[in-house]
């Protein structure tokens, strides 16, 4: 088995090591090469701008020669690079893979499909390209001797990056949050969200939201948005307040350990997807929860 890791990080290098055999890393600068030194048998350095998917894909397609599997992270840019490289190489690309094993020239991998309502077990002949879902491969890549090699290529791109605008990022890291208090259309005014922030504060958690709050009403920045096209989260407690529970929202919270919901509509679908549901007006119960929990924590 020979695996090439592109945009290497600890998780991907560990995932590659679980498959056995040789692990190589493709990086796009000398600095990145130093960072993976001792974690891959071979380090290939391609001096192209990895933000340009066509140039990066050219490097991947060239570096992939002789490898059984190309592993990448499941970021939007990596998926684009993966799609381009896979079509150039005439191989399949599996994205957001949860688990995988290789045997007899065939890769068997699992991924969520159909709005995260089903798991697909996919079998594909190697070589193939795979992007790995975050948080699934936790471990240390073994220490090895690294040989560094330059990948000779004249990168061409027809894309031009005119400007880069950083998204305003507060301290919100929903993917890593242990407790998430999430808000939906049950809140009548933007100012009322303050209650949720207070509850999150006493619980030591962060605030998430459903699509309408971020995308339509724009009451919260998109970094709070939980769901299929927002953040996929895995807290130990997900407390959904005034969220009806549309399938796209549920798809983002499947990996939560406990889901609790507060909604005044007893027929809200969120109750079918929650461990504990409370049928109540959020405006009445949230202040009580803040009060009780802060006493609990204080005492």
């Amino acid at each position: 088995m020979k695996t090439l890791v592109v945009f290497p990080n600890k998780e991907l290098l560990y995932a590659a090591s679980t498959l056995g055999g040789e692990v190589a890393a493709l990086v796009f600068s000398q600095k990145e090469a130093e960072a993976v030194s001792g974690k891959a048998h071979k380090i290939l350095v391609a001096e192209v701008d990895p933000r340009l998917p066509d140039a990066a894909a050219e490097a991947v397609a060239k570096a992939a020669a002789g490898y059984d599997l190309v592993l990448m992270p499941s970021t939007k840019n990596a998926k684009t690079v993966g799609g381009l490289a896979a079509q150039k190489l005439g191989v399949e690309l599996l994205v957001d893979v949860l688990s995988m094993r290789a045997e007899g020239g065939v890769l068997t991998a699992e991924r969520y499909v159909f709005g995260n309502k089903a798991v697909a077990t996919v079998q594909v002949s190697l070589p193939a390209v795979v992007t790995v879902a975050p948080g699934r491969f936790q471990g240390e890549p073994p220490a090895v001797q690294s040989a560094v090699e330059k990948l000779a290529l004249a990168p061409t791109s027809r894309l031009k990056i005119v400007a880069v605008e950083e998204k305003s990022r507060g301290a919100v890291r929903l993917e890593e949050a242990e407790i998430i208090v999430s808000v939906g259309r049950g809140f009548k005014k933007k100012e009322d969200l303050q209650m949720a922030f207070e509850l999150a504060k006493v619980l030591g958690g962060q605030v998430g939201c459903s699509r309408p709050i971020a995308a339509d009403l724009k009451w919260l920045p998109e970094e709070h948005w939980v769901g299929l096209s927002g953040k996929k989260v895995k807290p130990k407690l997900y407390l959904a307040i005034g969220i009806s529970g549309q399938p796209q929202h549920i798809a983002g919270i499947l990996d939560s350990r406990i889901i609790a919901a507060i909604n005044n509509d007893p027929s809200a679908p969120i109750f079918q997807n929650a461990d504990y549901g409370v049928v109540e007006d959020l405006y009445k119960i949230v202040p009580i929860l803040i009060n009780k929990i802060s006493k609990l924590k204080g005492g």
């Binding site: 684009t80 381009l84 690309l93 400007a163 096209s229 409370v278 009580i288 009780k292």
Partner: protein, 256 residues
Amino acid sequence: MKIAVLIKTALDTGQLRVRDTVVVEETPLKISDIDRNAVEEAVKLKGKDKAYGVTVLKWGPLQKKVQEAENVLREALAMGLDEAYLVADEKLLNASHIATAKAIAAVVKKVGADLVLAGEATVDNYTGQIPARVAAELGWPVITYARELKVEGGRVVARRDLEDHVEVVEAPLPAVVSVTREINQPRIPTLLAIRAAMKKPINRLTLADLGISVEPKISAAYKPLVIQRKKIVIKDGTPEEKAEKLIQYLRQEGVI
């Protein structure tokens, strides 16, 4: 500017038919939601030229699903596309994305489009790889995850919405662009437009018609994901009592 819009006739994940496995054959098709945004953008940009819908049927059985797919395409035609191409072939009813991209690229060449628009991902499989693959197949530049798009002087300029930042990216035409839901508000067709769509052509093609052959080396099985939630609902009592009860449960679980 001639535009080809990729439209996935996706499994309606809200109506999955489930036994031991997901019964794909019995699950209805619908337009992949984000493709509506691509259609809307095409209708806005096409000017006096034509905009074509391009679909590759991925779910069988062929005969039954072709009919459903045509109904889905009528929706896109009612939104303002001029014509649709439906590639329906037994050899495409599988998980191969290489084959899908080849078929789409062949249709794009056939209609002579200058711009390909697609949704950022499809609602059933959500892989988002087809726009990049089609671009590779055509040898065109690709801009993915566009939340704003302008076409001027033979170039496309897009705001590419990535995880931590937005890139303003420029590419020469012809090009492939995938769009996010934020790019526009898809129109709801009028009754008149729906009627007019009944007369617009839907051209059915096979791989042989396109002169391509594919040999997929991939297979997939779909199991419903059963996550058993406890579904304990607290309905009775005062808000005070309900809050107390909830806290008690959450403490028992050790999560607060």
